[in-house]
């Protein structure tokens, strides 16, 4: 039923390669290091999101990622799902401007507005590689959260004998080990409101958790409802099992 995930991986990997790498000859090789498995708060059938990490991850998204990447299917009001109250979400919305009608007019965003897509992600910058939309990135990106984390922390000098083309960077987890995105995160790239030390690892961990949350914002609720439904059905199943045995007891 479920076809091997590597096929799925190849399918989406090639699409992402086209998005991430301008040198398609390199991407055609499609080789990269396997991303190490990490433990995530949302792993497994009963996991749930670490909302503090999701919120810190949003800070990374807002201060770093959103300069180039859009999140066109997510509304500001959706941020309430990661633990913000109405006022906090409104404050976030008001700090953004969105187009207001024609003639280039703008207004502050409201809870019902989608996150604005930056011009480069709209394809308005000539010659630039279009950064993929991040609404569902953690679901559609081959390798999922593990690979996103690996990619964000996987930049480094190319090995001897490998020279990077102009405007690309060596990253052993990117397709063809080369990527057009400059290293986005460094120690201290952002300032966390909760006082957490903003190391590269911490930032990558948090922003990956945020991307996983925004790709499946109802994952926690799905699992909560699932546990209740399953318990109810197990109880009902026991009752019906007893009923069936009693009804059929005079038959055989």
């Amino acid at each position: 039923m479920n076809r091997p995930s590597f096929l799925r991986g190849v399918a989406s990997a090639a699409i992402v390669a086209a998005l991430l790498s301008p040198t398609s000859s390199l991407a055609a090789k499609g080789e990269h290091d396997p991303s190490p498995k990490r433990a995530w708060s949302f792993d497994g059938p009963l996991g749930h999101f670490d909302l503090a990490s999701v919120q810190r991850g949003y800070a990374v998204y807002a201060q770093v990622c959103s300069n180039c990447h859009g999140m066109e299917h997510v509304h500001f009001g959706d941020l309430r799902g990661m633990g913000l109250n109405d006022h906090q979400a409104e404050a976030v919305a008001e700090s953004h401007t969105v187009p207001d009608g024609a003639e280039g007019k703008t207004r502050p965003a409201t809870l019902d507005d989608a996150f604005p897509t930056p011009p480069v992600a709209q394809g308005l910058t000539p010659g630039a590689v279009i950064p993929p939309d991040q609404s569902r990135l953690a679901v559609v990106y081959p390798g999922g959260p593990d690979r996103i984390y690996a990619l964000l922390t996987g930049y480094g000098p190319p090995p001897a004998g490998v020279t990077e083309a102009k405007d690309t960077f060596y990253n052993r987890f990117a397709l063809g080990r080369t990527i057009a995105m400059p290293p986005p995160l460094h120690d201290g790239s952002v300032v966390y409101a909760d006082g957490t030390q903003a190391t590269l690892d911490q930032e990558a961990q948090d922003v990956t958790t945020f991307l996983a949350w925004v790709a499946q914002p109802h994952l926690d609720e799905r699992r909560r409802v699932g546990v209740r439904v399953t318990l109810y059905l197990l109880f009902l199943g026991c009752l019906l099992f007893i009923l069936k045995r009693r009804v059929w007891s005079n038959v055989h």
Binding site: S12, A14, H73, D78, R222, V229, L233, W248
Partner: protein, 405 residues
């Protein structure tokens, strides 16, 4: 309303209930029919667990219709709006994520249960006289359900939706002569777009409710002939039957809860079994995914389509593999009904199941390399099973029955 005239009760031989039900029963044939068909209806007591799948299918169909209606209220059938409306449903419509995962899980499990139901029919010879019409109606349902499922999969307008419609259009175009016209009619243009979505949305909706009507016919036909039995012999007398209620309501009820548990397990905890991540990328006509394939339940037919090295041949074989099932009552004319009593047919059925699974696997691997030969061998066996084995085994069994009367 509460007191029905007592003289009306005397002309009713079945002892019509008093009160409101009696009042309705004297005016509409529902109460008597319900009592006859669902309370006292004599069922063979030997039915095994495979005979509970029909009840699962009925409930799953009701769930699909209800969740589908609710989803349709929020869906936009246009190339510009479809993907965004699905995102709206999943992210912001209250309970929308639940409705949609119910509908997606329901589609997979409904077709899965349908395959089980179909297997039971073939294995126990449920298509034989006097159930030929029951079988034909059932096979019509099968074809309608596959078409409905395909149309539904295009609606979210993700990458797999778009390129699935593209592949289907090209398959239709392989029909000689009228192919290109048919393709244009199907796509509503030169390539998948607004026209395709409008057509398939209407088709999805119309077929879904048509399925409901044909299910009514299927059940009506079932209640004329009664269900078959695992042994293939009809119950000898009243001592071998049990009333539908409470015996089979209790049994079907238990089976339904087991089905619901499997449903909940997939829907809440293992959605990755049925969800295709590539379809969460919006449709992009400029970028062909290297690996286009349908949902798992269409893969065996996709395998047939690709195994035949000609476009038209593949289309004919693929459609033929469904049509040949319709002919089962006339290909298999043996007096023996159940595979339990037919060792050669039983071995053939086992091989058929293996061939069908291999076809699905070959379809998923685009019949590349060795899978081409696997797909071709499995396609060949599939048709040999119906067109050669079934008549031959019948002849042998008829001859044996004449020799030893």
């Amino acid at each position: 309303m509460a007191t029905a005239p007592s003289d009306h009760d005397t002309d009713c031989s079945e002892g019509r209930p008093a009160g409101a039900l009696g009042w309705i029963g004297a005016r509409l044939p529902v109460v008597g029919a319900f009592t006859r068909e669902y309370v006292r209806f004599p069922m063979p007591r030997s039915l095994n667990v495979l005979w509970t799948v029909g009840a699962m299918l009925t409930v799953a169909l009701a769930l699909m219709l209800l969740s589908g209606l609710a989803l349709a209220l929020h869906y936009t059938p246009s190339a510009a709006g479809a993907f965004a409306s699905i995102e709206e449903i999943e992210r912001r419509v209250p309970g929308g994520w639940l409705l949609r995962s119910m509908h997606m899980t329901g589609a997979s499990l409904f077709v899965g249960a349908l395959y089980l139901h179909l297997f039971r029919g073939l294995y126990y010879g449920s298509y034989k006289a006097p159930r030929e019409l029951l079988w034909l109606v059932g096979m019509t349902l099968f074809a309608m359900v596959l078409a409905t499922a395909f149309a539904g999969y295009v609606l979210p307008w993700g990458q797999m939706s778009y390129w699935g419609a593209d592949v289907a259009g090209k398959a239709i175009a392989a029909v000689p002569g009228v192919g290109p016209v048919l393709e244009r009619m199907f796509l509503g243009g030169d390539h998948p777009g607004d026209g395709t979505l409008h057509r398939l949305f209407v088709l999805h909706f119309t077929l879904a409710f048509a399925v409901l009507g044909v299910v009514g016919m299927h059940i009506a036909a079932l209640h004329v002939s009664g269900p078959g039995t695992p042994s293939g012999r009809p119950p000898a007398g009243p001592s071998e039957t049990l009333p539908f209620h409470p015996y089979f309501t209790a049994k079907d009820g238990l089976a339904l809860v087991v089905f619901a548990l499997a449903f909940a397990a997939v829907m809440f905890f293992l959605p990755s079994l049925i969800v295709e991540p590539a379809n969460y990328r919006p449709a992009n006509p400029m970028r062909t995914p290297p690996n286009i394939e349908p949902e798992w339940y269409l893969l065996p037919f996709y395998g047939v389509l690709q195994s035949v090295p000609s476009k038209l041949g593949g289309l004919l074989a693929s459609v033929g593999s469904i049509l040949v099932l319709f002919a089962a009552p006339w290909l298999d004319v043996s007096p023996l009904r159940s595979a339990r009593e037919r060792p050669v047919y039983r071995a053939g059925m086992a091989a058929l199941v293996v061939a069908f699974i291999l076809l699905g696997m070959a379809g998923a691997r685009h019949v590349q390399g060795v899978w081409l030969y696997v797909g071709q061998a499995a396609t060949l066996y599939y048709f040999v099973h119906f067109l050669v084995l079934m008549p031959l085994i019948s002849r042998r069994e008829i001859a044996a029955a004449k020799r030893a009367p």
